[in-house]
């Protein structure tokens, strides 16, 4: 089991200047990374003998109004330690490398984020309609300024 300091040290050695790690709730670690290195990062996390983080719980997207934050939750089934990886992409027409070839579980998560936020995952083999209705033609509904046909915004409380 690697603690926060060990994980931070390993990551900053391997990716100097591209990873800033910070404590979340111990023993959770959160690392903010450059979006260009995600595929190398997850390959490193999965293959490193001290980390062996090969289990992807989820990928989340968050609309931060000026950019979209993508959050990966990985853990190690063997060592029982976890890591949260945060990265940012452009809000409109954002691109990021797919990690589906390293962690196959990412396939559906990436499809979902592509559909709901419009983030393009470069290298994903099968980006197509996933959760929304088959005849959906109203764009990416999880963006904060999205408006739809029968979408009713919560009225402002006076």
């Amino acid at each position: 089991m690697a603690d926060t300091a060990t994980i931070t040290q390993l990551l900053t050695q391997r990716f100097p200047g591209q990873v800033t790690a910070l404590d979340m709730v111990p023993p959770q670690t959160a690392a903010t990374v450059d979006p260009a290195i995600v595929s190398e990062l997850f390959a490193f996390l999965a293959e490193n003998a001290d980390l062996k983080m090969n289990y992807l719980s989820a990928i989340s997207g968050i609309d931060r109004t000026d950019h979209i934050e993508i959050v990966y939750f990985v853990s190690s089934l063997e060592y029982k330690h976890k890591l949260t990886v945060k990265t940012r992409v452009e809000r409109i027409g954002g691109k990021i490398n797919s990690i589906q070839h390293i962690l196959p579980a990412a396939n559906w998560f990436e499809r979902e984020i592509w559909e709901l936020f419009g983030v393009d995952f470069v290298g994903h083999p099968d980006l197509r309609r996933f959760l929304l209705p088959d005849d959906w033609n109203q764009g990416n509904p999880m963006l904060r300024d999205w408006e739809g046909e029968d979408f009713i915004r919560m009225p402002e409380v006076q």
């Binding site: 929304l132 209705p133 509904p141 739809g148 029968d150 979408f151 009713i152 915004r153 919560m154």
Partner: protein, 173 residues
């Protein structure tokens, strides 16, 4: 429903026909109201409440109500739960597969008007009455079994007031 809905027209021309028609109406409506077989259709938490009402403590059986797993054998559809835009065509299909006369109880806030998902959602249909006609609206989130039984009694009252010619849903609207 062809023969039954033409009956009043035929009976009107006979002597004492209206008396026969009203008595027949009474008998048929009584039977109709006392054997509402409902479709097992639940999409969310309201379905749990519906199952609870169907089980022994609240006991739908004493109203002659039994669940049917096929729309072809059901008279009544509880729309129990949230209906999303993706589910809406399926709900409509199930309703259209039911034999007439057919009745719908919109159970819970979601089925009435979107309920807790009325605002700020891209996925939820705001009321099942946008897709199929509704007989009884039952508010609550979720409604207690007692409320559901009350809704069934209200529907029975409605059925008992029906005229012979009003059975088809294209007349009821």
């Amino acid at each position: 429903m062809g023969v039954i809905s033409k009956l009043p027209v035929v009976l009107e021309r006979m002597p004492m026909g209206t008396v026969v028609a009203t008595s027949l109406e009474k008998v048929l409506n009584e039977g109709r109201a006392s054997s509402l077989w409902y479709l097992l259709f639940g999409t969310a938490c309201c379905a749990i409440e519906m199952m609870c009402t169907g089980a022994s403590r609240y006991d739908f059986d004493r109203f002659g109500m039994f669940f049917r797993a096929s729309p072809r054998q059901a008279d009544l559809m509880f729309v129990a739960g949230t209906i999303t835009h993706k589910m809406a065509p399926r709900v409509k299909l199930l309703y259209e597969q039911m034999a007439e006369p057919r009745y719908v109880i919109a159970m819970g806030g979601c089925a009435c008007n979107g309920g807790p998902f009325h605002y700020d959602t891209y996925a939820v249909l705001k009321g099942v009455d946008k897709v199929i006609p509704v007989d009884v609206y039952l508010p609550g989130c979720p409604p207690r079994p007692e409320s559901l039984l009350e809704a069934c009694l209200k529907l029975q009252q409605k059925i008992k007031k029906q005229k012979l010619g009003e059975w088809s849903s294209d007349i009821r609207g």
